[in-house]
Amino acid sequence: GAGVSQSPSNKVTEKGKDVELRCDPISGHTALYWYRQSLGQGLEFLIYFQGNSAPDKSGLPSDRFSAERTGGSVSTLTIQRTQQEDSAVYLCASSLDGTGVSGTQYFGPGTRLTVL
């Protein structure tokens, strides 16, 4: 079946602009995660969704970052007033469930964000 998909694959934006990144999880997966991969910080957790709720937002770096998930499926990560330090690859993952042995996460190809 189809894996996790993300769009766009690449995004170049100017400092101060808002961007939206999209993630389509594997069908039937109730848990969805966003991570960020950057040279200086490695792979960092951002936010976790179970269904449409986000019980763990502890990794969001500032209030410029927000995410939502609708219909228990597609998720959008929004970055407002982008800064150069937001440049990174944003990875989305999904799992059958968020807990226990069903929590094995499968990753999408990522969105490479470049802020000029």
């Binding site: 995660y33 957790f45 019980p55 502890s58 042995v101 929590g103 094995t104």
Partner: protein
């Protein structure tokens, strides 16, 4: 909270030689352990996982790893590497108990495996 240490940032290996990529973790609770591989300009692909049971787990592409609870390690091994194994390898951990905050993965800093022809 959990943490992961991958001491080797780069590992060069000759083709057809064996390789071991080291991973050590720290956790106050039981854990699940994972190895992911990232090929250039791609996302993360799951290589193998330890959830419970046998401490020796086998994954895709001929890789295997052994969970050692006393040494808090989960080293990745392959008896004979191929050019196509050139990639970055990430060890990751998450809490194995049903507690809030155990859903997310904590990653190591990665090991870049380079196969020399």
């Amino acid at each position: 909270a959990q943490s992961v240490t991958q001491l080797d940032s780069q590992v060069p290996v000759f083709e057809e030689a064996p390789v071991e990529l080291r991973c050590n973790y720290s956790s106050s609770v039981s854990v699940y352990l994972f190895w992911y591989v990232q090929y250039p300009n791609q996302g993360l692909q799951l290589l193998l996982k330890y959830l419970s049971g046998s401490t020796l787990v086998k994954g895709i592409n001929g890789f295997e790893a052994e969970f050692n609870k006393s040494q808090t390690s989960f080293h990745l091994r392959k008896p004979s590497v191929h050019i196509s194994d050139t990639a970055e390898y990430f060890c990751a951990v998450r809490g194995g108990s049903f507690n809030f905050g155990n859903e997310k993965l904590t990653f190591g800093t990665g090991t870049r495996l380079t196969i020399i022809p």
